[in-house]
């Protein structure tokens, strides 16, 4: 724990400015050695200095260096951040020089791990940092920042407080059975109290759906028979929206053809074959492939050709769409209509004239309530770990509710209630568990 670590801390991409973060006892001294400018070992904490990084008398880059001394830093250790200006190559060179000077390259998530271990962040906050690194839209960034500020922790604490009040009441009944002033919790008056807790937990889960949308985006599959215009639709959508160029390898969990942003939410067009953006790959995807893509998608756009009759294959795809959010897009509306279908979510368009593209996007906004998300206060839960813990806590409360019908005495039910309380405590790290840390920190990606 005592060594000094460094890594490139800014997100991937080709932005002009990159930041190299250094943390640990040797941070300031090491950077001072390679810095041409003020003597960094003598400057005040939380100050920024202009200068150059030099190596063997050669200027590597023009930089701004921030000096932040322990303990009021991200990791609570001495931290130096070097803002480089020359793009990827000089940034990498600066990092190499630091490593040559005895620093160690940070492991994935190690800065955050140190921040957590040094008591600077609680677990939800540490997870949020991971999401901040990966965040690509403004909305995601806001969501991530809100979590860092502990808003999720506050919401969880609120539910925990309700639960602990109930537990305390039960405990008073048990430990001071002759004490009349406390309400006697019985199998009759317990259900409404548990239902209140249940509702709180359910509303947290409901919010988490929005959180998942923001952090994970919407996976979209464009399916249909060959040559109905799937790839032209995709290209039109991507072109229209100045598609975000994604550095696919290693950053995204799904293999995607491309992404667009709609009301701040990412639409990720998936290609389960994993074939990259060659011109007409999408077109070649047949019906079998379409069927497997449907399983993976949050939204399916079923493309039909206005000029062809509805076939057995179309019906096959359509049958699979019944439990999915889907839109039917009828292409080539300029050609004579041979297609006869009835479906509530049909949009007629033409990828050549761009007709139908706006209605298609509006339909997506409508189906996912995207307008609402954008305006509402963004304090939602998006981590899978957090969502699972809330679900488990909810199960535990439901278990208690079910067992009331079985006449199980209150002192047993208290076990379920206490369990829910402990699970929620795990979210903010108030209940300690070994495995938790191991899984949590293995999730972080290199760089922060």
């Amino acid at each position: 724990m005592s060594d000094t670590i460094c890594a490139i801390a800014t997100a991937r991409g080709v932005g002009a400015i990159s930041i190299i973060r250094v943390s640990g006892p040797e941070a300031i001294a090491t950077v001072a050695k390679i810095f041409d400018g003020k003597d960094l070992t003598k400057v005040k904490s939380h100050t920024i200095h202009y200068g150059h990084i030099i190596s063997q008398n050669e200027i590597i880059d023009e930089v701004l260096v921030s000096i932040m001394k322990a303990p009021k830093t991200y990791t609570t250790e001495d931290v130096v951040e070097i803002n480089t200006h020359g793009g990827i190559a000089p940034t990498k060179k600066v990092l190499e020089i630091l490593l040559e000077n005895g620093l160690r390259l940070a492991e994935p998530g190690e800065f955050t791990k140190r921040a957590f271990l040094n008591g600077r962040l609680d677990l939800t906050e540490a997870e949020a940092v991971e999401e901040l690194i990966n965040s690509e839209t403004d909305l995601e960034r806001k969501l991530a920042l809100n979590t860092i500020n502990g808003k999720i922790s506050k919401k969880i604490k609120k539910v925990r407080d309700i639960i602990i009040d109930l537990i305390a009441n039960i405990e008073v009944n048990i430990d001071f059975p002759e004490y009349e002033d406390a309400l006697q919790i019985t199998l009759d008056n317990l259900p409404p109290k548990l239902t209140e807790i249940k509702k709180e937990l359910e509303s947290l889960l409901e919010e988490s759906k929005v959180g998942t949308l923001i952090s994970q985006g919407i996976k979209v599959a464009i399916v249909g028979k060959p040559n109905v215009g799937k790839s032209s639709l995709l290209n039109t959508l991507l072109k229209e929206n100045k598609a975000i160029v994604t550095d696919i390898a290693g950053t995204t969990r799904d293999i995607v053809e491309g992404e667009i942003e709609l009301k701040g939410i990412r639409l990720k067009f998936i290609d389960t074959a994993g074939i990259r953006n060659t011109t007409d790959v999408v077109e070649k995807i047949g019906v079998d492939k379409s069927l497997t893509m449907i399983d993976e998608a949050d939204l399916v756009i079923h493309v039909l050709n206005n000029n062809e009759e509805y076939t057995e294959e179309d019906a096959q795809i359509n049958a699979k769409l019944q439990n999915k959010v889907h839109i039917t897009y009828v292409n080539k509306n300029d050609l004579p209509a041979k297609l006869k279908i009835e479906n509530s979510h049909v949009i007629y368009g033409n990828t050549l004239t761009l007709e139908g593209i706006e209605p298609l996007k509006n339909k997506i906004i409508e189906l996912f309530d995207l307008d609402k998300i954008n305006t509402s206060n963004i304090e939602v839960i998006s981590s899978i770990r957090v969502i699972n813990l809330i679900k488990e806590a909810l199960n535990s409360i439901n278990n208690a509710l079910n067992n009331i019908a079985q006449n199980i005495p209150v002192d047993m039910l208290a076990i379920d209630i206490k369990h829910a309380w402990d699970l929620l405590g795990e979210i903010t790290g108030e209940t300690y568990q070994d495995e938790l840390l191991d899984t949590l920190f293995s999730k972080f990606c290199l760089g922060k």
Binding site: M1, L117, N118, G119, E171, D175, I408, P409, I415
Partner: protein
Amino acid sequence: MYDLIVVGGGHAGCEAAHIGAVLGLKTALVTANIKNIADMPCNPSIGGTAKGIIVREIDALGGLMGIVADKSHFQIKMLNNGKGPAVRSLRAQADKITYPKNMLAALKNTSNLEIIESMVEDLIVDNSQVKGIILSDGTKISSKAVILTTGTYLKGNILIGSQNTPGGPHGEARSNYLSDNLKKYGLSIQRLKTGTPPRIKASSIDFSVMQEELGDDTYHTFSFDTEPLYEINKQQKCYLLYTNEQTHQIIRDNLSKSAMYGGYVTGVGPRYCPSIEDKIVRFADKKRHQLFLEPESIYYDEWYLQGFSTSMPIDIQEKMVHSLPGLENAEITKYAYAIEYDAIDPLQMKPSLENKVIANLFTAGQINGTSGYEEAAAQGLIAGINAHHKIKNIEPLILKRNEAYIGVLIDDLVTKGTAEPYRMLTSRAEFRLILRHDNADLRLRKIGYENGTIDDIRYQKLLLKENQINELKNILRNTNLSLNPKTEEIFKKYAIAIPKSSISLYLLLKRPEITIDFLKEIIPLDYEPSILEEVEIEIKYEGYIAKSYKEAEKMLKLEEKLIPEDLNYQDVINLASEARQKLEKIRPKSIGQAARISGVNPSDIAILSVYLKRKYNK
């Protein structure tokens, strides 16, 4: 020369001296006044929530409290009977004359045990190891181990209003120098406070305006080895009464005269047992507070006014008592008082109750910061066993949190310390469904046998009980309900729906409306009530019990991650400074124990785990 000297003859001292002698140690119990052996200076009861289970555990491990209480009470009841098996607990109104008498007789009947009447003022300490004691007249008595069970007598101060009198309960002489001498040897001493309510002459009480509180109409015993020695309908009554606005006004008007509120007390009092002035101040909106009148003994005419503990001056106490319905003409025989006393910081003890600073010195009871006869007795028992084990070079007996309330009690003391007199509560036990009243013998008798405190006869009895429990469970598992006119008649008689298919009696018993007594009507089950009860609980609540065992296993995994006793916490970089200080002082045995220390956060535990892994698991 003795093997073991026990200083103090209270509930901790009695158990410690007895068990030491049972284990074969040449033992001396030194008390300032032999008449005060097993004295009950406060409430006239043994047991209560959680405490009743502790008494059962003491009995299961070969201690005396349960056996003596069974011989010495005039009312007994099962608390929380309606709430569920995990929190049931016995409480007896013990007779303040017969309980000490029976305890003294039991001690006198113990071979290897000698009782010495004298005041102890110092220890013989050589090279950080205790070698004996020094009496107030300068006599030295040497021993291999010493157990201090000094109760509230270390620099005891009795407070009534602004009046402050040095002394122990009943105005007995206090120990003036022992705590200073302990300080001299490097122990840190804290000041604690407790209190007791006034006693009222029975013939001056008008009971007719109060509500009767009766004992149970079924027989109970604390001990697993005794038969009930009382008659149900000869149990004494207790009474319930309430304070009123007049009482509250008197208290409010005179608050500044109370020792507590007048600023005459430095010790910290218990939150769970507040004085009546505390209750009035902190719960100002309450119109009335419950009080109980309990007889102290059938041999004298004095009643204990539970819930009315106070440190008001005498004249105000008179007014307060006379404002209560039925006590308008009451004669107060003993005024309420608060008592302050010295205690050691329990963080200075190992989980064996041996002192960390002075080897072979053990402490038990109120000196360790606890409150209550039962908590004291439990520690006395463990200190006695572990003093023996220390002398004989045997691993100490350390009960785990999932094995006994006694384990929870000691672990809490040595891990968290205490700023107020510590009382056991069921909510302190995270696995209380496992730590039940009914299964204390099943949990602990074997441990007692292995540690030499349970003899062969009692151990064989345990094995027989275990066999019968398994046998009965198998019968229920292997017997299917046969539906015929006779059995259907029984269902009808109890107004229980007849099952549609024939299921095993085991599964039938899991249904909420079915009891083991009901099953007894279906097939003959010729077993002791304790066996039937045990099987019923284990089957009915199998799911929850299994859940508790699973949770306990999780805890045990952390307990198995041991921390070397000589770990230098200065080497563990990045620990928060508060955590480092606590860890250095407490020296937890395991990661599990470390995680329970207040002020040691999850991040500190993670750092410590990583450090241990790197250093020792390579």
